[in-house]
């Protein structure tokens, strides 16, 4: 019982211990657990809640992969290791849980071996995050320090109790002592200083932190070189260890650089002062901080006045703002531009300004006075422009300059031949610049030019392309030929145009010469400069006399006045006018126009002259025919109606008189009727005859005048005998041509008339003949009868016209004669000095000739 009680008590005690142990385990700031061989959780403390976010109750019986999630894979090697019976230790970063920060932990896996078999393992993980952070920080600090120590340009040494523990590379380089040769030794042992001991004491003591005071020392290198240095020291106490850190600045190189700088500065200053250009140094605000003598001279200012002046005051530009330029310098390092500066006296001058950055030292400005250059440039530009304008404005031209060495000095112009360029040719020798054949062809020309000759050649360059080259020697002031200027011009177009013009001119001339119309050109003053053959023919002036204005004499005064008005101010003149020419008067149509150029200036006058004489004659003839025909119709209707009226009326009277039995009246009525009927019959016969003569039925034949007259006389034989007339053929030896029967009618009628109209009791005298002296032969029948009153002569040849109503006949005779003559192409007219002076009928018959049987 006691034993049981004791046992129970022991059990109770154990439980209590266990509870305490449990509480201890739960309270531990470490993760504690037990996992069996199957990786099931058997035991877990409260830390699991804090570390993994899950309470331990929840974990019991759960598998490790389930509990650790992705972490398990990372831990797997250690799990496998512990299951093999090997204790594991590793560090692991645990992600942040719901309780806070990520933590860095150190894990221990310890195997639980029972009877040599691993039945499970204990997990203990302690949070080492804080320690780890310190370690990392220290590491970083140390790295930084080490980097500074190593890379510093300052020579640094660390000593403990006077013995070197570290030196950096700068110390090695500056003073020649390697780390290996100094470690563990003192400066005295090494003979590094020869300073008195108190100085060394001061250095060695330091001042607890960096002493701002630097101690000038001389460091002796292993080879004995002495180097000046400024040394500052600091003492550092780490636990029991006291380290001294010394920093040495090598003055030897500093001084050398300074000396170098001083020398350089002096040189630069000398240059600065020596250059003629104006040099300024300006600060970032554009204020002058320094300036050289050149700048002072340029601006006419003392250096003192210039310094402190803003550069906007130097610029002659109104409202000049230097900021964009300064910004540009800051961006690019420098800018260069042309501007204008102002002198103290207010005058301005052009400068080329270069502003370049001096880094922190500001900006240097170099101002070069380019006034002179401007003058030269302007002159050059003018000259060049003149030359350019000249060369570029000569259409189709190229200018070439060749020197005495046959070197092409210049090629320019818009008309460079294809395949040649300015760049290729300039500077080249002739024979290198152009094909050999061409060079050989032009070389004599160039040499002739160099010999001083000026001349022009035309060279066909290729099919359809012709060049005209003008060679001009260019002489020096001494008069020697220095170069030859060759002005080449593509005259292909001109050559073609000229050929086309020549062809056109030929066509025109041919056309003009062949023209059936007179053509002429006159100058501004109206003097002919050209006239074609037809014009010469119309104006009856020989080809030699066509020029000038002599022909104007042929115009009527009124027409001449119109011509003169036209020449003075007219644009066109159209004139139908008579033209008095050598033999006769011609009727012409003159049409002249003023020819103007593009701007309206008169180039000349061009005119045509058309001979309308024949046309006009035909028109007049036609008019006359027409009149005749009208008159004929009228006459016929009137003259045929008259007897008809008589007959009808007197038949009426006859009926009345018969009814009334008035015998005397009846006789009178019948007499009128008979006369009218006879007359009508005769009129009809003669009209028929007249219509017959209007038609040519027989071919014309040549017959002698004598033969015709003899035959006609036979036909009027009765009247000749009755009147005792005397008829003479005065010009027997004449041949006439025509229709024989009609010609006979002509002579018969004319002789009949001549015998008829003679004063009563007088013996008719008639002469028949021809006048052969004039332009055309004229035949005539002349009588010495009663003559014809000039007032009625125009009615003489009219149909049924009778000057004397009492005379026998119907008045058709002369109408018939006129018709026959006209049908034969001739004319008939009458000449009579008036009543009592006889009459001469004259007519022409084409084909009338002198000659034939007499």
């Amino acid at each position: 019982m006691e034993e049981r009680q004791a046992l129970r008590a022991e059990l109770e005690a154990t439980r209590a211990e266990l509870r305490i142990a449990r509480q201890l385990v739960d309270a531990a700031p470490a993760l504690m657990g037990y996992w069996d061989r199957d990786l099931r959780c058997r035991q877990a403390n409260r830390a699991y809640l804090a570390w993994l976010g899950r309470p331990p109750e929840e974990l019991l019986g759960k598998s490790m992969p389930e509990v650790l999630g992705p972490l398990f894979e990372l831990n797997r090697p250690y799990v496998e290791g512990v299951l093999r019976g090997e204790a594991q230790q590793f560090e692991r970063e645990l992600p942040a849980s719901n309780e806070g920060l990520a933590r860095h932990c150190l894990a221990h896996y310890t195997p639980d071996i029972v009877d040599g078999t691993v039945v499970g393992f204990f997990v203990l993980a302690t949070d080492i995050s804080a320690r780890r952070r310190v370690e990392v920080e220290l590491s970083a600090t140390e790295a930084r320090f080490r980097a500074i120590f190593t890379a510093s340009p300052l020579a640094i040494t660390i000593t403990e109790a006077g013995r070197f523990v570290a030196v950096n590379s700068a110390f090695e380089q500056v003073f020649g002592w390697t780390e290996a040769s100094v470690l563990g030794r003192t400066a005295s042992e090494l003979g590094m200083f020869d300073h008195p001991p108190e100085v060394l004491e001061r250095v060695a003591r330091g001042a607890g932190g960096m002493d701002p005071r630097r101690i000038p020392m001389t460091v002796i290198g292993p080879d004995g070189t002495r180097r000046d240095a400024l040394v500052s020291t600091a003492q550092l106490t780490l636990g029991a260890r006291v380290s001294t850190i010394s920093v040495a600045i090598d003055l030897t190189s500093e001084r050398a650089i300074e000396r170098e700088l001083r020398a350089s500065e002096a040189r630069l200053r000398a240059i600065f002062e020596a250059v003629h250009d104006g040099l300024f140094i300006v600060d970032d605000h554009g204020v002058v901080v320094d300036a050289n003598r050149g700048a002072c001279q340029q601006l006419g200012l003392e250096r003192a006045a210039l310094i402190g002046m803003p550069i906007s005051a130097i610029s002659a530009r109104p409202n000049f703002d230097p900021r964009p330029a300064l910004a540009e310098v800051a961006r690019l390092g420098f800018v260069a531009y042309e501007t204008t500066h102002r002198r103290a006296d207010g005058s301005a001058f052009p400068v080329d300004l270069v502003l370049s950055s001096l880094g922190d030292s500001g900006i240097v400005g170099i101002a070069r006075d380019v006034t002179e250059r401007h003058h030269v440039e302007a002159a050059l530009r003018r000259s060049e422009r003149r030359y350019r304008v000249l060369v570029e404005n000569l259409p189709g031209m190229v200018a070439i300059l060749v020197d005495r060495d046959l070197r092409i000095v210049l090629v320019d112009g818009p008309a460079m031949q294809e395949g040649f360029s300015k760049a290729q040719m300039e500077g080249q020798l002739l024979h290198d610049a152009v094909p050999a054949s061409f060079a050989a062809a032009v070389e004599p020309n160039i040499r002739a030019g160099l010999a001083g000759r000026s001349f022009v050649v035309e060279i066909p360059w290729a099919e359809g392309i012709t060049y005209r080259y003008e060679y001009c020697p260019l002489r020096t002031e001494q008069g020697e030929v220095e170069m030859v200027l060759i002005l080449g011009q593509d005259i292909s177009e001109r050559a073609r145009a000229s050929a086309a013009l020549a062809a056109s001119e030929l066509r025109f001339r041919t056309l003009s010469e062949a023209s059936p119309v007179g053509v002429f050109y006159a100058d501004v003053a109206g003097h002919n400069t050209y006239a074609n053959a037809r014009w010469a023919a119309i104006t009856a002036r020989g080809p030699a006399a066509t020029l000038g204005d002599g022909w104007l004499a042929a115009l009527e005064p009124a027409d001449l006045a119109r011509w003169r008005t036209f020449v003075a101010e007219g644009d066109e003149l159209v004139l139908e006018a008579p033209l008095r020419v050598a033999s006769a008067s011609r009727w012409v149509k003159l049409r002249v126009a003023r020819v103007r150029d593009a701007v309206g200036a008169t180039l000349g006058l061009v005119g045509t002259l058309d001979d309308l004489t024949e046309r006009r004659q035909h028109a007049l003839d036609l008019e006359q025919r027409n009149d005749e025909l009208t008159r004929f119709t009228y006459t016929v209707s009137h003259d045929l109606r008259s007897p008809l009226v008589t007959i009808k009326t007197f038949v009426g009277y006859l009926a009345q008189d018969l009814a009334d039995g008035r015998a005397a009246k009846i006789e009178q009525d019948l007499g009128f009727i008979r006369t009218a009927a006879d007359r009508m019959s005769r009129l009809l016969d003669e009209l028929l005859e007249l219509s017959r003569v209007g038609r040519k039925v027989h071919a014309p034949i040549e017959v002698s005048l004598r033969e015709l007259v003899d035959e006609a006389l036979v036909m009027v034989q009765g009247q000749i005998v009755a009147t005792g007339a005397r008829i003479d053929l005065v010009t027997p030896s004449v041949i006439v041509a025509g229709e024989r029967v009609r010609l006979l009618e002509v002579f018969q009628n004319l002789i009949d008339n001549a015998l008829k109209f003679v004063p009563p009791g007088e013996r008719p005298r008639v002469e028949i003949g021809a006048e052969l002296g004039g332009p055309e032969p004229v035949l005539f029948v002349r009588d010495h009868g009663i003559g014809i009153d000039p007032r009625y002569q125009h009615k003489l040849f009219g149909l049924f016209e009778k000057l004397d109503p009492a005379a026998p006949g119907t008045g058709i005779g002369l109408a018939l004669v006129k018709r026959i003559i006209e049908v034969h192409g001739g004319r008939i007219w009458v000449d009579s000095a008036g009543v009592g002076h006889g009459a001469t009928f004259r007519f022409t018959l084409p084909g009338t000739l002198s000659g034939g049987p007499t």
Binding site: Y634, H638, T646, T649, F650, G652, P805
Partner: protein
């Protein structure tokens, strides 16, 4: 009708036609005188003489157009050009019915244009009407 004889100048180259006119006007019992001339020249000569007062001044001229020597239109023109004669009425009596003759006659101052009809009855009728109009009803100015 003041009883003064009316003088008619007939210019007509066709004697038959002159006879017709004469016969027709004979029937009018008015004291009138008919002077017949066969060509234009004689008519002009008569008129010239009448303006000089040597022959009777005609009250009316009866004029044919187609006349020997000087034709009717010229006679008319010259009559109208003579101030002393220009108020004498001229009546054209002709065989022509050409429009141009009609126009030319009136242009030159004719007061009437009559075409001779180719018909006895009509010719007689025309002359009757002419006689009544000119010799009975018409009044002429005093010379």
């Amino acid at each position: 009708m003041d009883g003064r004889p009316i003088v008619i100048l007939l210019v007509e180259d066709d004697v038959a036609h002159a006879e017709i006119v004469r016969r027709n006007l004979e029937s009018f019992r008015v004291a009138n005188a008919l002077i017949h001339l066969p060509d234009g020249q004689q008519a002009l000569d008569y008129l010239e003489a009448s303006s000089a007062g040597t022959v009777s001044r005609p009250d009316l001229v009866l004029l044919d157009l187609r006349l020997p020597k000087v034709d009717g239109l010229e006679v008319l023109e010259r009559l109208k050009a003579n101030e002393a004669l220009s108020n004498i009425p001229v009546v054209i009596l002709t065989t022509s019915d050409a429009e141009r003759d009609v126009v030319a006659a009136y242009q030159r101052g004719a007061v009437s244009y009559l075409t001779k009809p180719v018909d006895f009855g009509k010719f007689v009728e025309l002359m009757e009407a002419f006689g009544f109009y000119w010799l009975v009803w018409n009044r002429f100015p005093s010379p």
